[in-house]
Symmetry: C2
Subunit: 268 residues, 2 copies
Amino acid sequence: MTGMYELATAVRRVGDGRFEADVQPGWDIGGNANGGYLLGIAGRAMAEAVGRPPLTVTAHYLAPAPAGPCRVDVQVVRSGRRLATATASLWQGDRQIMQLLGTFGEQQPAFEGEVPYIVGAPPVMPSFEESTAPPPLPDGEVPAIFGKLGIRMRPGDAGFRDGVKSGRAEIGGWFSFADERPVDAIGLLFVADSFPPPVFNTDHPVAWVPTVELTVHVRGVPAPGPLRCEFRSRFIQAGLLEEDGEIWDSTDHLVAQSRQLALVPRPS
Amino acid sequence: MTGMYELATAVRRVGDGRFEADVQPGWDIGGNANGGYLLGIAGRAMAEAVGRPPLTVTAHYLAPAPAGPCRVDVQVVRSGRRLATATASLWQGDRQIMQLLGTFGEQQPAFEGEVPYIVGAPPVMPSFEESTAPPPLPDGEVPAIFGKLGIRMRPGDAGFRDGVKSGRAEIGGWFSFADERPVDAIGLLFVADSFPPPVFNTDHPVAWVPTVELTVHVRGVPAPGPLRCEFRSRFIQAGLLEEDGEIWDSTDHLVAQSRQLALVPRPS
C-alpha cells in the first residue's frame, strides 16, 4: 500500500537528472502549495538521483506554486562513499518555484561506546487525543491539507484565530499522516513546514509569512507512531524572522531540526 | 585603508559570473583554509554578482582547500526588486571545494510602530580584556589565523586543551579583526565559523569536526565595536552534530544566526 504522501510527492524520472511530478490539489493553503510539501517533491527527486536519503537540504522559495505539473532538474555535484551532494531546481513551465542544495547519506548507527550528548527533550504536551485540531483560516475555510494530516496542537497554542494568543512565538503539537503511514526522511522534510507560523501567537500584525529559505537536518530515522514537534521564533525584527523546529519520535529521539528565514510583510 | 579581511577575501571579476580569488596562507587551521573564510570569499563573489549583501547563505563543503588560487562561478537564479537568489561553486583547479546557495538583499529598517519580538540576549561574559585568547592546537602550534583576529573566549570555555572541559558544548567569546576594521555582512559569514567547535568542551572523543553544511542568516548591520558570540551544540548523536551560533553587536542587537551540520568522526 502506498501512502497518500508518497503518492502526492511521487516523481517520475524522464531523463538524466530530470524528473516530472504533479503538485497535487489539496496540499495548499489558499491555493499555493505548502512549502514543505514542495520540498518533499524536490527532495524525493534529489534523493532518487543520488540514491540516498537526505541529511541536510536547503530550499530557497522563488514563487508560489498552484496545483499542476512540475519538473525537477537535479545536478549531482559530488557522489562520495558516504555522502552525496546535489543541487536542484523545481519549475512549473518556465516559472522557477524553488532552488535547492542538499547533502544526502544514510543515517549512521551509533558506534560502540558512543555516549550521545543531548540538551533538550520532546515538548511537553497533552496526549494526541487531548490536543487540538489546527484552527481554520481567517475566512473560516478549513484547508483540505488538514484532512490529510493528523495534526494536533498544544491547546494553549491553538487559540490565535479566536483572539487568544499565547504571547509566545511557539507552537507545539503532534504530527502524523491521516493514513498513519510511517514518516521517513522525505516525510520529515514536509513535517518541518506543516504547522502554522509561531509568530501568529504574538501581537505582531502579520497575516502571512513567506519563506525565503528553509533548511532541514535529518537526524534520525523516526520510530513508528506520531511525532512531537515544537516550532519557535526568537527574533522577529526589521522585516525578518527565523523559525526553528524540532521533531521528536515516539522513543524520545530527535529525528529532525529545521530552521527557516521568512519575511515579515509590513501591515498594509 | 582596506582591511586585512577584505584583502584576504577579495575577488576579481573575470567574466560573466566568473570570479578569481586567492585562498591566502595564514587563514587555515593545520593547512586547510577555515570554512568561514572560504565562505567569505564565495559569499563576496555572490554578493558582487547580484549587487547586494547576503541575507541567507548556505555552503556545503566538499573538499579541504590549501592556500592557492581559486575561482568562484556564480549563477544568478532570480533577481527581484528586493531579493536576489544565486548559486555558486568554488574551485581550485578541477577540484570543487564548495557548493553554495544564497539569497541576497539589503537589511530593511524597522517600520514605524514595529515592536520587535526578541527572546534572547547577548552572552554574559567578562570584558574583552578579561577574556582568554584561544588555546593553541594539540601540537602546541598557535595558528597564524589567531594573529589576524581579536578573538577572546569566555575563560571557563577556553581550558579544553589543558584538560579543563566545561562539560557543556558551549563556547562564548568576543570577535573582532586584529586591525579593528568594522565587520560587515560579508565579515559575519566568517565570524560564524571562527571559534573552536563547542564539542571540544564535552567528553566526546573527537579531534576534528568536518562541516557538511553551514547556513548563516544575516539579521542586521553590526554597529562598530567587538561582537559577542555564542556557539552551542545540543544534539551530538550517531555521527552528526549541529552547531548553532548567535552573533550580537555592541548595541545588543542580534546581527547573525548560524547553524552547521558536521560529522563526528569515530575515534580511530
